[in-house]
């Protein structure tokens, strides 16, 4: 298995995210979407617990996995930075748009709730991560809630992460079924460890 690499890339945050996040997701969108289909129980419950008639946002909605969890009596609007992933949402019949978490196209205090699932760790600096959270909070009405999931600093799994380094580039390996070679070259994205 391909190991994660400590992030020591010397580029500006925007450049780093452009190469290691935006371009990567545009290439892996379809494969990525195929591996994202089971709504996680805690998030599913959070959505099901919302009042009927509420409006929410899924910021960084990916392939729209959570946009269809509950339909008919609430409205959830999705946004993602990756045009390729938003297109997949659209094909699945969900309302979504291309937008940047750091600059959301929503007015202040409009949503009853927001979810941000496995998104914020894609930002390459702490200040950008904080800014992303602030943006999410800006769109919530008074008393609204947000559910945010990110990669944990503590990792016990198969991947090797060194204790002294927080940010890593984590490999995404695509497999080509039609060609002879078993692997395409691994693509990588920046994760908060």
């Amino acid at each position: 298995m391909v190991d994660p690499i400590p992030d020591k890339v010397e580029l500006s945050s925007e450049e780093k995210e452009s190469i290691y996040v935006h371009k990567v997701y545009d290439q892996i969108a379809k494969h990525f979407s195929n591996t994202r289909y089971n709504p996680w129980p805690v998030i599913k419950k959070y959505l099901e617990d919302q009042e009927p008639g509420c409006i929410g946002a899924d910021i960084g909605c990916g392939n729209g996995k959570y946009l269809g969890v509950r339909s008919g009596d609430m409205f959830v609007i999705g946004s993602d930075r990756s045009p390729a992933l938003v297109e997949i949402c659209n094909e699945r019949g969900f309302e979504s748009m291309t937008a940047d978490n750091l600059n959301l196209p929503y007015r202040d205090n409009v949503f009853d709730f927001a979810i941000s699932i496995a998104v914020i760790h894609h930002f390459s600096t702490e200040s950008r991560r904080v800014a992303a959270i602030k943006e999410i909070l800006r769109t919530l009405r008074k008393g609204g809630t947000a559910l945010i999931y990110v990669w944990a600093l503590e990792q016990d799994g198969k991947r090797k992460f060194e204790a002294d380094h927080q940010d890593y580039l984590v490999p995404w390996v695509t497999k080509s079924s039609k060609k002879d070679s078993p692997n395409d070259e691994p693509n990588q994205k920046t994760y908060q460890r």
Partner: protein, 118 residues
Amino acid sequence: MLQCHAKGCDDPAKNFPLEISDFTKEEIEAEKNKDFLVRMLPKLEWNALYTTAVKLGITGLPETLPSDAETNDEFLSALHTVLLEVHIKEGKMTCNGCNHVYPIKDGVPNMLLAEHEI
């Protein structure tokens, strides 16, 4: 529901609602949920919704919210159509403050700003 909705968009000059133009739309039937519609009423920016609907060539919405909105079935049906059934396939949304044009292609709006607009 996309864009035929009270939700506005932000731009550096903070303007809402965005002006829709050069659009094609389609209507896709959706199940009507009266409870949902009634609960949505207080969340709607009626003026914005109304002017946008008019611009989209949708008749049927009254200029002001009727006093019996919650029980007026005819009104709720019209609202249902606007909120949940009308979809914009192609179009442009322009900010009246800074003139930035947000395109809608294939039903998907692109809300990204250029570097100098952030």
